[in-house]
Point group: C2
Chain length 403, copies 2
């Protein structure tokens, strides 16, 4: 069976779903059974400032997302579980200093790094989570271990680290999590806070990227099992001990074979209050909404409460939704389509794609801002479209092989 | 307006709802508007072993529940908020060494006490929670403070305690939380664990009371606002750092004016995996179930996963549900009914109440076991019924006055 993989920074309008892989069969064998498998990842809602994005950085972000997709998809392709795939994808992003999780975690107001992570198995509704860990190289592996090897779902602080140590999980010094950019973001936020308190009125541009970020993955495997995994350093300048939505099952992470798998990113407090991830599932289960409608509805609830962010969701048919209400969300997905479907190149331009909604100047501007700042335009679209365009990453031909 | 208050140890079949106060108006003024207010509390699913229940202890448990109900209801009666009422009721139970929260918290496997608590405001969907705190006399007050005074929803460990200290919340030495009974329960569980590991095969009776417990309150105030609050010492012999469902918004606590307020108790891990509290709300909102149906459904999901426990829920009309699947659940409620409605004296006996389901020997036995062990039978029911009966506590006549 042919397959290819597509990843995109802003491949479509927020909220637009990717067509399920299963709906398109390879032309050379239209009756061949196509097992529905799929993977989506995010590297956090709230992207880097456009002025700070260099071509080199752009390549690095892109490469990080690609590595994560590849790690996860290789597992699915070999018949592995969605749990393993999401854990592997998130681990790659944790090891990448560009994303706010593991290595690239943001700093608390005390200048420390405190991380949260969780994972959920949609088949057995099992889950594992860790909160406020400070010396765990890969919190997602510890969350998995909590699920697999402890009688509990959630462990935090020293207790979680003692469990890690007893089970051979790698502990590292806090220095491992130092990155200059995250440190600078903390100083900027502290300066802004100080100025606000003194009424100095100095202007600080605090971006979503400065404030938050998270990494996550959702997947569907060949056995129809869904899984979700999320990991984060939390929010810059957070109070020590702050736990966000990431390790809260139902808020930042949820998976249920009957409905979908969800991983959220953004202002965690609002996602907790909206019980966002479980809300997506409940809307599908009890109101019969499609995954993209449910995902958008849940995100709208978060927004109504005042929160910004995004989420990724995959349903039992492999349909993927990736809505967000920030200026951008690093994200990507892989499907088993023989070719990237047209809507992975979906563009905010009614003329180019008649099924697109009325052209929204604000949305288009946001789209362009994000797009230009984070990814080069590589599509072969007409110049007029290219401005707001997006592109799917096609994995090298060597990866195209019969499965 | 006349009112009275009713509290009960096992006043009805698990899952049976209490009729809303608003449906019955005082006879002396049938057209008078009756503001719907209501309060329900629980002192944990999993009650003390019958053989260990003395009349004195029974009085103490009963008195604790009454004090909590009175504290909460006095606030509602004076026109106070459901938030204040639930916080006050839970605080009383935290101060009572009989219940597993605050003062009477169980011990971790390390012999320490680690407490979780949360509170949620159904009007604004605001919430506050604390996890793994070790020196907070009243964790529920700290959860409220997190909601009111911090930019976060959830704080844990040392960070939560630093925030408490900075805001004048009372910190106490761990000795404050020592109770002989909880310590003995830990020793019993450790001995059982050791014997299991060595294959000695000694028989230990580990009861629900030994394993877990939680306190919680849900309320509806005169403005139609719902609130829920929950507090716990967790599970006996839990790993240090274990966070249960109590501080997880959506799992152990949830409130939403559109639907209901919920507080759970039991095997926290299963309530997290079922996102139990939010599930009750979702079933009401998206499937149109009544509060008692939704509460029972959500608890059934917990049971399907393997969990035992119970929950209390109140909806926007003041309907109360108190289902549980353990041998008992300490609980009580207050309504504005001029007289306690018949079903607060509901008995597992088909003859006595024709609307009761077919007599279930197992259920009746469980009921009796619980009832006899925890509360004396005070009703004026026929002797045959009294065996399994239950009783509502009527507050003294001095409290019956116009509101």
């Amino acid at each position: 069976m042919l397959f290819n993989a597509a990843a995109s920074g802003l491949a479509q309008k927020p909220g637009q779903s990717v067509k399920p892989a299963s709906e398109i069969r390879p032309d050379n064998n239209p009756n061949m059974e196509t097992k529905k498998i799929g993977l989506a990842i995010h590297g956090g809602a709230g992207t880097i400032e456009r002025s700070k994005m260099t071509p080199e950085k752009e390549r690095e972000y892109r490469a990080g997302l690609e590595r994560a997709l590849t790690a996860g998809y290789e597992i699915l392709k070999r018949g592995g579980s969605s749990l393993d795939a999401t854990e592997a994808a998130v681990r790659v992003l944790e090891d990448d200093p560009h994303f706010n999780a593991g290595r690239g975690s943001v700093f608390t107001s005390a200048g420390t790094n405190e991380m949260d992570a969780s994972i959920m198995d949609g088949k057995a509704l099992k889950a594992g989570a860790v909160g406020s860990v400070q010396h765990i190289k890969n919190p997602i592996n510890l969350a998995r271990l909590v699920m697999d090897k402890s009688p509990h779902v959630m462990l935090d602080c020293a207790g979680a680290e003692a469990f890690a140590k007893a089970n051979g999980i790698e502990l590292v010094d806090q220095k491992y999590f130092f990155t200059q950019e995250r440190w600078d973001a903390l100083q900027k936020m502290k300066a802004a806070e100080k100025d606000r308190a003194s009424g100095a009125g100095t202007s600080f541009l605090i971006t979503d990227q400065d404030r938050h970020g998270t990494v996550g993955a959702v997947a569907l495997d060949k056995d129809g099992n869904l899984a979700a995994a999320t990991s984060t350093g939390g929010t810059t300048n957070k109070m020590p001990g702050r736990i966000g939505d990431t390790p809260v099952i139902g808020a930042g992470t949820y998976a249920n074979n009957q409905t979908c798998a969800v991983s959220c990113t953004g202002d965690g407090e609002y996602f907790i209050r909206a019980v966002a991830a479980h809300e997506v599932s409940a809307l599908m289960q009890y109101r019969g909404l499609k995954v993209q409608e449910a995902a958008q509805d849940a995100l709208d609830t978060v927004k109504q409460l005042g929160g910004t962010g995004g989420l990724i969701a995959i349903d039992k048919n492999g349909e993927i939704a990736l809505p967000f209400n920030t200026n951008g969300m690093y994200r990507g997905w892989v499907s088993r389509l023989p070719l990237a479907p047209p809507d992975t190149n979906w563009i905010l331009n009614k003329k180019t794609f008649p099924d697109a909604p009325a052209f929204d100047t604000n949305a288009a501007t946001q789209c362009c801002q994000h797009f230009r700042s984070s990814f080069r335009v590589l599509t072969k679209k007409p110049a007029s479209a290219r401005r707001c365009g997006s592109r799917s990453i096609i994995l090298p031909p060597t990866r195209r092989k019969a499965n």
